[in-house]
Amino acid sequence: MTANDRQIRPGFPALRPVGLSGMLVSFSDRLEEPANRAALAFRAAVEAERKAGIAETATSLASLFLRFDPEVLSHDALSDWLQGLLAARDWYAAALPGGRRLIRVPTLYGTDLAPQLEEAAAAAGMGVEAAIADLGTTRVRVLTIGFAPGQPYLGPLGADWDLPRQTALTAQVPVGALVLAVRQFVLFAASSPTGWRHVGQTAFRCFRPEAAAPFALRPGDEMLFEPVSKPEFLRIAERATDGAGGAVIGEIAE
């Protein structure tokens, strides 16, 4: 931890209890790239220690959650241990995890299957064509998996896309819906109501309980939502029985 980081983020990293058997290590109170990397790297370090009493870990956008057994590891002992690990290095300067992948997903933007593209483009001050060109060529990273099984929060999108959530919820978007708000995409793992705008539709299933690898994505993976025409999308959706929705997966060389 450098003095500089403390000045930039007063009060962080912060350790706070969650219920009786949870601890949250927060690296920031807003979404920022170094805090997201810090959370991923710190999680990997905690997992590597295999400390008795820690039951599981999970990252959010800018934090790490630990579930522990207070009978085995007291809250205070865990705090001390985490403080030691936090002080060991500058986590904000950590590299992204290794073994990351780029997943290119055929995506239908707009039409009746993704009816809020036009509205979102207008809010971002773009025409529909320009919006598709921009969204369809922006590589976004899986910042965290959460809310529903395997469901990614992806970003960052360009500054034009810093759109607030809608005040009224969309009653239901289908599985595979690509929705947008606050410079992020969410790719819905299950049919759900949402306050985010439905700009694209994919045949990609993030959660495949029957598959050998039920969770299709990992934090740190990158995604590219490449535009396809409606007939092509319908063809892919019909053929894709494995849940991949025509996605092409490649390794990212570090």
Binding site: R16, P17, V18, G19, L20, S21, G22, L24, S26, D29, R30, L31, R43, A55, E56, T57, A58, T59, S60, L61, A62, S63, F65, R67, P70, H75, T144, I145, G146, F147, A148, P149, G150, Q151, Y153, A189, A190, F207, P209, P214, F215
Partner: protein, 341 residues
């Protein structure tokens, strides 16, 4: 294979066990029985492992037929229960022999009743557990025509009953402070503790909405909160400032501020509170909460030795006139709770 044939089932009967811990990082909440205490009680009545799966029945039961000789136990929210038309006790174990029909009516208190089989319900495990997780699309509700296969039963006594403290009508809930508690002013927190809430109309395995008259409970900077991890028991304040208490099948992250977390041993009271039941919150220190959890853990550990032979109530005995009755043989004092006929 022996098991239970479902002839009729209420709309929200699901196979549940203690759930699937360990997938939080992948967005899958633990799930499992809404009232985990009921699983332990059923296991104690049948002398078996509390990790086995049972049928969780929300609100209204159904009609089930034994295929093969079975041992069963009934726990959780009490329901009118009959075997081939003869009333049987709740919080008790019974023999259900091949061809006999078990009918379960509507809950008389609480929300979730549980039907346990000797050997457990042996549906296939998915991701390490049998618990149906409706929100995640893992499994589905039980429907008429299904067979619930029984696992291998090592056998044991039936006709045992458990004394069970009431957790089916709301009450006081102990709460610990959490990450976002400081976002609520001391005045708001004090008013929160002083308010008598009632369970609202919206409730399922994901969570329970509470109602109260008057002003809601707002956090400062409510709209700017970064989405953060959720744990069961969290009390989130939704847009209208009313509490929503999260249960085992909740989402794994959320952006609504949370005023605190109901401690695990009080959570069955939330899940089991019927609509309109009164609920109050009281902040306690970590030390007090851990002590309460330790007491709860020793209560659970003692349950295995707690079942006692069922004292049959005359109303439950179909061929009553065939018995030689001795005045005073049935003591109201020893009647198992929940068997209120």
């Amino acid at each position: 294979m022996s098991g239970l044939r479902v002839h009729q089932a209420g709309p929200a009967c699901t196979v549940q066990d203690p759930g699937r811990p360990g997938f939080l990082g992948q967005g899958l909440s633990r799930g499992g029985a809404a009232d985990p205490l009921a699983l332990v009680e059923g296991a104690a009545l049948l002398g078996q492992d509390a990790g086995l799966a049972a049928l969780e029945i929300a609100g209204f039961g159904g009609v089930f037929e034994a295929e093969g000789d079975l041992r069963i136990a009934l726990t959780g929210a009490p329901m009118a229960a009959e075997i081939d038309g003869a009333r049987v006790a709740w919080n008790a174990s019974h023999a259900l022999i091949a061809g006999q029909r078990l009918s379960l009516g509507a809950v008389r208190a609480g929300c979730y009743g549980y039907l346990h089989l000797g050997g457990g319900i042996d549906t296939p495990r998915v991701l390490g557990a049998r618990a149906v997780h409706l929100a995640a699309g893992l499994g589905r509700a039980v429907a008429a025509g299904d067979q619930l296969p029984a696992g291998r039963d090592r056998g044991g006594e039936t006709g045992l009953a458990l004394e069970v403290a009431d957790r089916f009508s709301g009450g006081a809930l102990r709460v610990v402070e959490g990450v976002q508690t400081p976002l609520f002013s001391p005045e708001v927190r004090a008013r929160f503790e002083a308010t008598e809430f009632v369970r609202g109309g919206r409730a399922n395995r994901m969570g329970v909405a509470l109602d109260c008259p008057g002003e809601g409970f707002a956090a400062e900077g409510q709209l700017a909160i970064l989405s953060e991890v959720i744990v069961p028991g969290d009390i989130q304040m939704t847009g209208d400032g009313r509490p929503f208490v999260l249960l085992p099948e909740c989402q794994t992250t959320g952006g609504y501020p949370r005023i605190g977390t109901v401690i695990p041993c009080d959570l069955p009271k939330v899940a089991q509170a019927p609509a309109g039941a009164p609920l109050r919150f009281c902040f306690v220190s970590r030390a007090v909460a851990l002590e309460a959890e330790a007491r709860h853990a020793s209560h659970l550990a003692g349950l295995r030795r707690a079942p006692r032979p069922l004292v049959r109530h005359p109303g439950d005995i179909p061929d009553l006139l065939g018995y030689q009755l001795i005045s005073g043989a049935v003591s109201a004092h020893h009647e198992p709770q929940g068997d209120s006929e």
